[in-house]
């Protein structure tokens, strides 16, 4: 293969295995970036009063370290493995939407590059801590553009995550092989399912919070600098995301560890059903524990007591799951290979991390621990110890499958021993440093913190170095490793029934299951993997546009132009239906007969609901606290609001009718209804623009006060959704005039209709909240 086609292949691939490799390699790259930053600030903390980084560089280093590790390294590493192995584990030949999957990857890569490039802006990168606490992160206290650019990177990542979420939920729900019931799914696939469910509900509030912060920084909208609870509002919005995010990072690794322990114990997992129930309970509970991050803010004691109890409760399901893992070892046939050592090691570290977390669920103890190194030690035991170590186990476990060759076992074990010891040297001293504040760049000799910091720093450097052992081992074994064969570990899930590395189309025949292992196959139509440059181009153009916002507006226009052309081209190829595949469904309970696209839109709608709920929640939060907030009908022209509401309701009627007409084959009326919907939607936007300019001419502009800022953000975000819906309807109109719909084929109309009705429903609440009461 010559050089050009090699590059072209990787830029245009939509094959889940290629994208899995891209994700894994990129995540490892960001792991190195984040780890190098940690090496640097551990030098700064090595001794009291060190003069190595200084406060500004130190704060940037810890902020980027946190953002990169949590959002761009550990979780994407799990998603690299998920891209590769979830389709294989459920017996599918790809994800439900391969091009969207490529889009997720490229958005992820470019968002990470955007984040890292913020360091080179004047004033440096973000230096406010990865938690972005307001009002420190507002323009008044941190005016440098790096903070805004990093925020934009987070929004871009949230888009990537939302697409990935939809993709995995639809894939796991709809594309399982015959006989692959829910309870037969391997634990790793369960882990990814739980993770994407968490992401679906956790990322929209983060995106909303960052959007409000961006409005704060760009337009001067005073959300988080409001003296009436602005700082507390950030806490609510951030931690509503932030706590579930911990489980987002942890659960794929934790459940992958269970698969590995089961394989190397030579038996099935004990009480798999109860583990799944337990983790499900933990996923639900994880949304009602986040106030424990705000125990010291002085908010309502009753709320804190309730959340303290729920936080203690969440330890119980994790205890059940961990106990089942230990019970699996009982009378097993244990083989202590490298993956097993890492898996077992991660359980040890999870026990310590979990126990120290119980302290933090206690309001009275957390009063002190909040903001100290105890917290740092605790969450590194969870995210690095239980999370990353289990993912390393996964890398060793799946290396033979992905490359077809074995890694060097001796060096694998050496890696485990060095990393396990140095990990504890690095993080255990942090528990003993429970008087030392987090995120201080220096400390005085008389504090007595020096010896423990010295140990931690040395441990940290060794831990960072030990990572290289794995990289070198993997790199060398690519050429000299012994051939692995199909199933080197005698494991019994589906990915081990096909050659290593798997062929392009994965399965020759789709496997059928009557127990947990495959026992036959069915013939299906041939699967074709498409190539498309558009996901790459769209992500690149967004990246350029965002860089332009911080440097030169010309770049933004170039980016938007490329974006527009790419989307137009995407339309063209879609209308020609070059990418359509035939859909076959085997095991799809409880969504039998629900077409993939439609299920995908429902998932998207659930996520968007949370986005608007967060904006409305922020509005109500500020409104009930701010004295003298005027009643909405005294500001806005009720007639315009009423007319616009009726217009939008009518457009919902017309698109609902369009679906009915196309189902009955009345194509003339169908096209007319689509056209009417487009006109009505356009009219809504035009009236909105007219209304905004009227309001602005009366001095009611964003940034003026909270009343105006909340109004413009909420209605502006809604208007953006109307515009997106209009793009969808335009697509339907083109397609309808090309004769691509008939009484059998109308899923596009149905899916975009669902989205359009959702936008309508949002307005049904925005209208009373912002115009009437």
């Amino acid at each position: 293969m010559d050089e050009v086609s090699f590059i072209k292949k990787w830029l245009t691939t939509t094959n889940h295995k290629d994208i899995g490799i891209l994700y894994t390699v990129t995540a490892l790259y960001f792991l190195v970036v984040g780890g190098s930053l940690a090496v640097l600030f551990r030098i700064q903390l090595f001794q009291p009063l060190m003069d190595f980084l200084g406060p500004h560089k130190f704060n940037q280093a810890i902020t980027l370290h946190g953002l990169i590790m949590v959002l761009w390294a550990v979780s994407p590493l799990a998603f690299g493995l998920a891209n590769y192995f979830v389709p294989l584990q459920i017996g599918a030949r790809d994800l439900a939407f391969p091009r969207l999957n490529a889009m997720s990857y490229w958005l992820y890569l470019f968002s990470g590059l955007l984040l890292v490039s913020s360091v080179f802006l004047p004033g440096g990168g973000p230096d406010v801590g990865w938690t972005y606490y307001a009002p420190l992160s507002t323009s008044k206290f941190s005016p440098q553009p790096g903070v805004t650019v990093a925020g934009l990177a987070i929004v871009m990542l949230a888009a990537s995550v939302t697409l990935g979420t939809i993709n995995f939920i639809v894939t796991i729900a709809k594309m399982r092989a015959p006989g692959m019931t829910w309870m037969r799914l391997p634990m790793f696939t369960w882990g990814i399912l739980f993770t994407v469910a968490l992401m679906l509900f956790a990322f929209p509030p983060l995106a909303a919070a960052v959007l409000l912060l961006a409005a704060d920084r760009v337009f001067g909208a005073p959300f988080f600098s409001s003296p009436y609870g602005g700082a507390i509002l950030w806490g609510h919005m951030f931690w509503f995301f932030g706590h579930p995010e911990v489980y987002v990072v942890l659960s794929p690794a934790y459940l992958l560890m269970m698969d590995i322990v089961a394989t190397f114990s030579g038996r099935e997992l004990v009480g798999k059903k109860y583990i799944i129930y337990s983790i499900f309970a933990a996923v639900v509970l994880s949304f009602v524990v986040y106030i424990h991050h705000m125990f010291t803010t002085g908010i309502n004691p009753l709320v804190r007591e309730v959340y303290s109890v729920t936080t203690e409760t969440i330890s119980i399901p994790f205890g059940v799951a961990t106990l089942s893992v230990i019970a699996t070892l009982y009378k097993g046939r244990i083989r202590l290979t490298t993956p097993m050592l890492f898996a077992v090691g991660s359980v040890f570290l999870f026990l310590i991390g979990g126990s120290t977390g119980v302290y933090l669920s206690s309001v009275a103890l957390d009063h002190w621990f909040r903001g100290t190194y105890w917290v740092v030690g605790h969450f590194h035991y969870q995210l690095v110890g239980a999370g990353l170590m289990a993912l390393f186990a996964g890398l060793y476990y799946y290396y033979p499958k992905m490359t077809g060759r074995m890694y060097n076992e001796k060096w694998g074990k050496i890696h485990f021993i060095i990393s396990f010891i140095s990990f504890n040297l690095l993080y255990f001293p942090m528990f003993l440093l429970y008087d030392m504040p987090r995120r201080i760049y220096t400390y005085q000799p008389e504090t007595g913190w020096a010896p423990l910091n010295m140990v931690a720093s040395i441990g940290g450097w060794i831990f960072a170095f030990s990572f290289l052992i794995m990289v070198v081992n993997f790199y060398r074994s690519l050429r000299i490793g012994a051939p692995a064969g199909e199933n080197p570990w005698e494991a019994d899930s589906l990915e081990w029934t096909i050659p290593s590395p798997p062929p392009e189309h994965d399965f020759d025949t789709i496997p059928t299951m009557s127990s947990v292992s495959a026992d036959g196959g069915v013939e299906t139509v041939e699967h074709v993997h498409f190539h498309s440059l558009m996901p790459f181009l769209i992500s690149l153009s967004i990246f350029i546009a965002f860089v332009g916002l911080a440097t030169s507006i010309v770049l933004t226009f170039i980016g938007l132009l490329v974006l527009f052309l790419t989307i137009a081209n995407w339309y063209r190829t879609d209308i020609l239906e070059r990418f359509s595949t035939k859909e076959i469904e085997y095991e799809a309970y409880p969504f039998e007969g629900v077409v993939k696209e439609k299920l995908g839109v429902w998932v998207l709608v659930a996520s968007e609901t949370l986005l608007f709920a967060s904006i409305i929640g922020a509005y109500l939060f500020l409104r009930v606290r701010t004295p003298g907030w005027p009643l909405s009908y005294t500001i806005h022209d009720l007639r315009i609001g009423l007319i616009n509401t009726i217009i939008l309701l009518t457009s919902s009627l017309t698109i609902a009718l369009a679906l009915a007409y196309v189902k009955h084959g009345e194509m003339g009326k169908f096209k007319a209804s689509l056209f009417a919907t487009f006109i009505l939607g356009g009219l809504f936007i035009v009236i909105k623009g007219f209304e905004w300019s009227e309001l602005a001419s009366e001095g009611f502009i964003i940034g003026e006060n909270l009343v105006a800022s909340t109004y413009y953000i909420a209605t502006g975000l809604h208007a953006a959704h109307v515009l997106a819906g209009l793009l969808g309807i335009l697509y339907l109109i083109f397609k309808a005039y090309r004769g691509k719909f008939n009484s059998q084929k109308y899923v596009g109309v149905e899916s975009i209709g669902i989205y359009w009705h959702f936008v309508d429903i949002v307005w049904l609440f925005l209208f009373p909240l912002f115009y009437l009461i």
């Binding site: 420190l136 003296p227 230990i326 244990i334 009275a364």
Partner: protein, 188 residues
Amino acid sequence: MAPGPTADVWYSLFNLYTTAAVAINILIIIIFIYFLYKYRGYRADSSAGGIDAKKLAIVFVIVSAIIFYSLEFYTLNAMRFVEEVPENPDMVIEVDAFQWAWKFIYPNGTESLGTLKVPRGTLVLFKVTSLDVHHKFGIPALKASIDAVPGRINYLWVRFDEPGTYTVRCYELCGLGHANMMAQIIVT
């Protein structure tokens, strides 16, 4: 002798949690290591192992619920003790946090930057707020701490039973001077 009641309460709760955590972890880790050692390369019974997973799960849920909720009971007691704002404090001190120092305002209106003098054994009520960004007012020796949030007054009471000099630090990242945002409380 502990320097004050808040530290007493905190340390006794901390010791309770530590006792429970160490005991449970040692038990689990011993079983864990024993299994790993005993069944290494073991070839007898690779199918079931004879464990009733349902019974195991139920027993564990009940046992751990008892442990966790009794710990929580002590937590809530301690929380009410340290959070109850005293009705008749001996001294009310306003604390204004700002980038990057602490200002103390005595009851008579005198302001002091970075130093506070209180007599031993007085019940001091701090009214803590911030003039700019989110800070956290913490006295390590007393394990007493509360957030300093702009636009909001939080209450924290302490009693210094031992004379000496106590350090106050900021425990929430507040910008470039976070590490050096300290103050002294001199107890005579």
